[in-house]
């Protein structure tokens, strides 16, 4: 990942000491969300693009860039996965509000 222009005042160890517990909680929240979906309808990942996008985003959490040149951060890669990659404007307004993911698999919503 590219190094920043304002160095973190905290060391890596200090960041872990300070922020591990709250991020552990977030990790368990995500795990529980996926378990809850499975318990309700385990086929959603094949039928709802938002669930598919969520699962693909989780895979990106473990990816590291191969070289410094392709050093997109995890958050940037997830932002792009969730974004509409098209460039043409819509002919007219379809829905008023966005849904949070782009349906690149043409799954629709369950």
């Amino acid at each position: 990942m590219p190094s920043g222009v304002i160095p973190s005042p905290k060391t890596g160890r200090e960041l872990v000491d300070e922020y591990f517990i709250e991020n552990r909680t977030r990790l368990l929240e995500i795990a529980a969300f996926l378990d809850r979906l499975d318990r309700t309808d385990a086929t959603l990942v094949d039928r709802d693009y938002r669930v598919r996008a969520f699962r693909e985003a989780l895979r990106l959490l473990e990816d590291r860039p191969a070289t410094a040149a392709e050093a997109q951060t995890r958050v940037e890669r997830i932002q792009h996965l969730l974004s509409d990659p098209t460039t043409e404007p819509l002919e007219k307004l379809d829905v008023k509000s966005a849904r949070g993911a782009y349906d690149r698999w043409q799954l629709g919503v369950a």
Binding site: P2, G4, V5, I6, P7, S8, P9, K10, E14, E18, T73, V75, E76, Q79, H80, L82, S83, D84, P85, T86, T87, P89, L90, E91, K92, L93, D94, V95, K96, A98, R99, G100, A101, Y102
Partner: protein, 296 residues
């Protein structure tokens, strides 16, 4: 601590929120015109909204020693209706003369439609014609990247636009570089659910520095925090950053951008108090009736 919240929809907030902002060091807010959460039925509805933004709201803020400034437009959520947009645009120029109006905003795109783009261009033309600062809303969620890209491409076509007089707001990790590389100002809006957390905002400052980046609450009628900027400051301290760096981001940066309008001024405390004394009727019921708000 002192700060300026340059994106706050105070018409949707209570007086208690002004108190909370004043208690946490807020000296000025700027309020872009936006969607009410429902579509207004006529240009007259917008005109009342502009009167609210330019007359009543500065008085309400002054009671708590906070300067209130506004940006005017027909927002991108209603930009699809071209006829309404033309009628509203025709009525804006006379409000630009108000002593607290800083420019045109928050214009931009919502779902990136052809009509939204036409309405956006009309507003940019109006801002150029009247030499106004511009404040821009970028779409949320999956539309943000496409919308930001489209907005930057349109603005860079104009030779009469000075990018340092334009703020492209609601940036996130994947749109911040496009905005900064083209010379615009940008904002990180600290929303509890759909936008940027204080922690991610701090990450962006650590990666890109503090030049031409502001933070704001963007508090409105949805789940949002009027004291999001002081929460950001607290998160900065927790990460170990200095008081000077925090002051640069939450006070000096907004002044650097907004101060390009000769109307922007944070004033002195005594000047703000004197303004407040003349501003609003004392009793709550008087204040309510002058705002046209029915007593609850």
């Amino acid at each position: 601590m002192r700060y300026i919240d340059l994106h706050a929809h105070m018409v949707s907030r209570t007086t208690d929120d002004y108190v909370q902002m004043a208690l946490t060091g807020c000296v000025a807010v700027t309020e872009p015109a936006f969607w009410a959460g429902w579509d207004r039925s006529s240009a007259d509805g917008f005109e009342d909204y502009f009167r609210h933004l330019t007359d009543f709201e500065p008085k309400r803020a002054a009671v708590y020693g906070i300067r209130h400034f506004a940006w005017l437009c027909l927002n991108p959520k209603e930009g699809e209706d071209r006829q309404l947009a033309r009628e509203v645009l025709r009525r804006i120029p006379r409000y630009l003369e108000s002593p607290t109006v800083l420019g045109i905003g928050e214009i931009g795109l919502n779902r990136v439609t052809r009509n939204e783009i036409a309405t956006f261009r009309d507003h940019v033309d109006l801002a150029i014609e009247h030499d106004q600062l511009i404040h821009i809303h970028t779409p949320h969620l999956e539309d943000k990247y496409k919308g930001t890209r489209t907005i930057v491409d349109i603005l860079t076509e104009y030779d009469r636009i000075d990018p340092s007089r334009v703020m492209i707001d609601h940036a996130e990790e994947h749109t911040l570089p496009i905005i900064l590389e083209n010379g615009f100002w940008t904002g990180l809006t600290l929303y509890p659910q759909t936008k940027v957390s204080p922690e991610r905002a701090i990450d962006m400052f650590e990666r890109y520095g503090t030049d031409r980046i502001c933070v704001a609450s963007a508090c409105d009628w949805g789940p949002s925090l009027p004291d999001a900027v002081p929460h950001f400051a607290l998160a900065m301290r927790r990460r170990g950053h200095s008081a000077d760096l925090i002051d640069r981001i939450i006070y000096h940066n907004p002044i650097a951008f907004l101060g390009q309008s000769p109307k922007f001024d944070v004033g002195t405390d005594s000047a703000r108090r004197n303004g407040a004394e003349k501003a609003l009727p004392r009793s709550e019921s008087d204040a309510k009736s002058s705002a046209g708000v029915a007593a609850a």
